[in-house]
Structures are given as C-alpha cells and as structure tokens.
C-alpha cells in the first residue's frame, strides 16, 4: 500500500507555470500557464518548434532557471523560488543532463568528465572513481576512460555525457536534443539507450523538435506559443498530429 502511494506521487509538477522575458518594450511569454505532472519512471518527450517555449520549459525543469510565476515542484520540493546555489545543489543531486553538443570539458579526460557531478557533490576520490567507472561501464565505454573527448566519435562522446548524467544517480534524466548532432544510426543507439534507462526505472524527459525522436517516448507533451496543446500517450499523439492544421501549428 505504502509503496503504491509513493509511486503515485509525481516527480515533476508544474503548476500555472509562466516565464516572461522582457526585451526592451516587448514582453515575451515563453511559458504561459503550463500545468504538467510527470510521474516517477515515465519517459516523456516535450516537443515543439523553436519559439514554442520548450527550451524555457526544459531550463525550468532542469533547475537552470526559475519561473516568473507559478510553481515547480521536483520530487516534492518547491524549487520555483530557489536561489542560485540551492538550484545548483538540486541540479547536482536530482538531475542528469544530456546536451545536444555533449558539453564535455575538452581538457579533462573521460573519467574526469564523468566524475564532475560527483566532485561537486563532495564525494571522495575513491568513491568518485568507482561511481564514474560504473557509469562508463553502463554506457559501454569504460575502456576509453583515460581518453580525451576529442579522441572520441560523436556517438561515443554522447555516451560519455550520458554516463556523466547517470554518475550522480539522479531522479531525472533530462535530454536536450540528444541526437541533434548525431547521424541516424548513432541517434538510434542513443535513443535505444534512453529507452533502456527508462526500462530500468529511470525517469527520462526528452526535449526535441524532431517528431521521429519524440515518438520513442511513451508520452508526448506538445508545446505551442508557451502553452501545452497536447499531452497524452504517444499513439494518441500520432492521431492528434494527423489532424493538426499544419498552417496553424507549423
């Protein structure tokens, strides 16, 4: 019973989330009243064209930014009013990022790159190495630990960045266009890996503009003009999309 209750608690809860950017006289409502719940263990794709507000949503979900109004509750903690350093600690403990450009530090070797979140978590040397090696093993690139990022292919680099996201054992994996810089074959590998993570019980949120990528998720959230225009299972989205007025939603 107790176990079931915890499962029901959302990992991510966005309540009336608004993010307003002011540039000069112009006011841009990048997020305009978003309400969204993501449960533990879900695999969700947030999809939208550029300007739809998906990057803003991802920044807020990733605790990189705070909303102008509304609430963001992550794992039961309200992070919407947090200060920089508190956000840093949330990112460090709860979120694993996977970026389009991998964002590995070129002057550190693979192991040191993967160790970074553990370093900022204040883990000791031995513990860091153990956890980082385990994460590298998980993505099948352990043998390259002493190499530097520029000695690896794009797919390998993205695997390292996945290992880095996993190393801190976060509650949420947040992937921002993870296949954007990869060829289709490697893209498939990376997506398959995200799926595998999901199968293992990890919550994965994927932000993309690419439908074929989004279709790999179990649930799709479609943003348009800072609002959610679709939120449902992937098979329903396919139906939704076929009815979509392309002139209106691009």
């Amino acid at each position: 019973m107790e176990q079931g209750k915890i499962e029901e608690k959302p990992l991510i809860e966005l309540i009336d989330l608004c993010k307003i950017y002011v540039t000069g006289d112009e006011e841009v409502r990048a997020n305009d009243g978003i309400n969204l719940k993501i449960m533990n263990g879900e695999f969700v794709a947030i999809i939208g064209k550029s300007g739809s507000g998906k990057s803003t949503t991802m920044n807020i979900i990733g605790a990189l930014d705070v909303p102008t109004s509304g609430k963001y509750i992550l794992g039961g903690i309200d992070v919407s009013q947090m200060k920089d350093d508190e956000l840093a600690s949330i990112r460090n403990k709860m979120i694993g990022f996977i970026f389009q450009q991998y964002h590995l530090l070129p002057k550190l070797n693979i192991l040191e790159n993967v160790e970074l979140p553990l370093l900022y978590a204040g883990k000791g040397k031995a513990a860091r190495k153990e956890a980082a090696m385990a994460a590298l093993d998980q993505v099948g690139i352990k043998h390259k630990w002493h190499n530097f990022p520029n000695q690896l292919s794009g797919g390998q680099q993205q695997r390292v960045s996945i290992a880095r996201a996993l190393a801190g054992n976060p509650s949420l994996i947040l992937a921002d266009e993870p296949t954007g810089a990869l060829d289709s074959k490697t893209s498939k590998e990376v997506l398959a890996f995200l799926k595998k993570l999901h199968d293992g019980g990890t919550t994965v949120v994927l932000i993309t503009h690419d439908h074929s990528v989004a279709l790999q998720a179990n649930r799709i959230v479609r943003l348009y003009d800072g609002k959610i225009i679709f939120d449902g299972p992937t098979d329903e989205y396919i139906e939704f999309e076929s009815k979509l007025d392309n002139n209106l939603y691009g």
Binding site: L64, L116, P117, L119, Y120
Partner: protein
C-alpha cells in the same frame, strides 16, 4: 571541491596555455625579481659600508677634551677610568698628532703627520707589522725616540726596504725605526701606508703639548659604544663641569645614521619596484577576465552539473593565485641569482634577504588573489543558461 583539486585544475589551465601563462607571469617575475634585487643590493651596500667602518674602528669612541687652568683631565685619569669600567672598555690611548718634516740624509717629507700613541694603539687599530715591533710601554715611560713607519715613508726616505734599526730625523731629532707597518694600499701618499707612529709622551714634549686632549677608547664591540659614550660623558662632566669642553664621537653613531638612510632608501626603491607588482597584478586580472570570457561554456557546464558559486569562484581565484605564485617563485629564483651576479660585478657581497623573499612572495600571491577575485566573481555570477549557450 577541495584545494588540491583547485590546484590541479589551475595547473592544467596554466600548462594548456603555456605562452599566455608565461607572458602573464613575466610581470610577476620582473616585479618580484626587481624587489629582491634592489633590497638585496641595498643590503649588500649597507653591509659593505658597515664593514668598511668596522675596519676604521666601529667599537671606538673618540674623546676630545679642552683642559682649563682649574679643571683638567689627563691620561692617568683616562687609564684609571678604563680600568674602573672593565665590562665596557677594553683600552684607551692618548693621541698626540703633530706635523713635522722627516728626513733621512737628503731625502725628506715635509709636514708629515706624526701620531703619538700609547702601546695599546696597535691592538686597538688592528695594525699589522711586517717587521719589528710596535711602541711599547718602556718607550712611552722613557720618552724614547723610536718610531714605527708605514711603507710610503720607507719608500720615500730609503732606497731599501730593510730599514729596521735605521735612524730618521723628525724635526731634526733622530728616531730609531723599530717597526714597519705592512703595506695595505700600494704605498700611496695619504694612504694608510703614509704614517709615522711614536710614543705619545715624546711627541707631546716635541710639540709642547701640556695636557693631552685627544683620546681614543676601544669598547668590546659596537653594542657597547652607546653605554661607553654615556659613561665617558658622565665621567668627564664630573671632572670638567662643562659640556662645551667635552666632545665625544664614534663611528657607531655615524653608522646608525647611515643605516637609517640606507634602509629608508631601500624601502623607497623597493616600493618603486613594488609598483611593478601592482602592474603585474593588473596583467593577471586582465588575462583572467579573458579566460573567464573564453571559458564561459565551461563555466555553464560546471554549473549545470551542480557547481555552486563558491566552487567557480575558488577555481578561478586559485588559478589566478597559482599563476602569480608560480611567477613569484620564478621571480625569486631570477632575482636571487641576479642579485648575487650583480653583487659580484659591483664588488659588493649582495645576497637576497629572507625578508624580501617572504615579503615579495606573499605580495605576489596576495595580488593574484586580490586581482583574481574580480574575474572569478564575474565567472561565478554567470547565468548557467547563457553560459551553456555561448560558443
């Protein structure tokens, strides 16, 4: 993130930008180096001056008294005074100087200064005799016509150097040469080799000096001079009851003045060199600002992975501090070797002082930390989203 990791990161960053790091450090190297060179050289010069003064009797006190008809001090009083103050004073000699013409046959020196001394003078002034002996107590007691001469006098009056036991005429009176002072300055006129010493009793009589007014006292060392001067002043005032009749002077008081002057000069010059440290600090700040701009994305990545402000702040401050500390260390080595090298050329025994090394090293580290703070703060304050987006 601990300090050690900070240093490792800083080291990596320095090594991966070798040329830039070296150029940045150059300011620090020159700054620290010049402080060490200037302070070291000034110290060397001061030591040189002190040493030269020591040769001239740094432990000596000169006394000149003016004897009046009613009150006077004579050599017997002075000898007694010295034996009454054995913990400060080593010895005393009366000094009677007079200019006479000295002759050997037709060879002569006009207006040669004859110094009449007691037997103590030899030891007090570290005179080294190449041959013979110095004037002794018996000579003084008996007012013997004996003298000790320098090599200039020998070379002027004699064709040979073997003059021991020969007679010269001082003011027409025959004196036997009993000793020769070792040559020290190429037997030049007016040098230390141009000297004639005789018993002060004899010279006093020849120059019609009644009571002797000049004395030279030897203390046990420089540190006794001040006490000695005070003791002498008290003693002489008691005898003469008039400050104007007593004149006490020493090399030490002169030396103290010189010491003060050189250390002020050294501080001023060191301070000017220190300005270059400030310039070096600005150089470091400049390069750190560039570095922060260049590494904006790195900062964004680190922040997205959970780096807090203080993590980024300390990373950049440690980097700036390391660059300047490393530069400072090279500067110390460079300055230390150059100061010894220059000292050798100039002929001064100059060495880097521990004080200047510690001072300039701490200043260089301090400057790195202070000037590194602003760029580091800029880095730490970057918004992670903007930082991630920058290319």
């Amino acid at each position: 993130m601990n300090l050690f990791q900070g240093f490792r990161l800083a080291f990596k960053s320095i090594v991966s930008n070798k040329m830039r790091s070296i150029l940045t450090m150059l300011g620090m190297i020159i700054g620290v180096g010049s402080v060490i060179i200037i302070v070291g050289l000034m110290q060397g010069v001061t030591n040189y001056i002190v040493d030269s003064f020591s040769d001239m009797g740094i432990n000596m006190i000169s006394v000149r008294v003016t004897n009046t008809g009613t009150r006077h001090v004579d050599e017997a009083d002075m000898f007694e005074f010295v034996s009454n103050n054995p913990d400060v004073f080593d010895s005393v000699t009366p000094l009677v100087t007079s200019s006479f013409t000295i002759k050997n046959g037709t060879a002569s020196i006009e207006n040669e200064t004859i110094t009449g001394t007691a037997e103590t003078y030899e030891k007090m002034n570290n005179l080294t005799l190449s041959t013979g002996r110095y004037i002794n107590y018996a000579d003084i007691k008996n007012r013997k016509a004996v003298c000790v001469v320098g090599t200039y006098v020998v070379s002027e009056l004699f064709e040979t150097n073997n003059v021991l036991g020969k007679t010269i005429k001082i003011n027409g009176e025959p004196f036997t040469i009993v000793g020769i002072i070792e040559e020290s300055e190429d037997s030049e006129e007016g040098s230390a080799d141009d000297c004639v010493y005789a018993p002060y009793t004899k010279i006093a009589r020849m120059s019609y000096t009644g009571t002797i007014s000049n004395y030279s006292f030897a203390t046990y060392g420089r540190e006794y001079v001040e006490d000695g001067e005070k003791l002498l002043d008290d003693f002489l005032y008691e005898k003469l009851l008039d400050e104007d009749l007593i004149k006490i002077s020493s090399m030490t008081s002169l030396l103290t003045t010189i010491d003060k002057m050189t250390s002020t000069l050294s501080a001023v010059l060191g301070g000017i060199a220190g300005i270059s440290l400030l310039v070096a600090g600005i150089g470091i700040m400049n390069i750190m600002l560039v570095s922060v701009t260049e590494r904006t994305q790195e900062i964004g990545i680190r922040k997205s992975l959970g780096a807090r402000r203080k993590d980024i702040l300390s990373q950049f401050i440690i980097e700036a501090g390391s660059i300047s500390a490393f530069g400072g260390t090279i500067g110390i080595l460079f300055g230390a070797s150059l100061v010894i090298f220059i000292g050798n050329i100039v002929g001064v025994n100059a060495a880097p002082t521990v004080g200047s090394i510690i001072l300039s090293f701490s200043i260089s580290v301090g400057i790195g930390l202070i000037f590194g703070y602003m760029p580091a703060k800029k880095a730490a304050g970057l918004n992670p989203i903007d930082a991630l987006r920058s290319e």
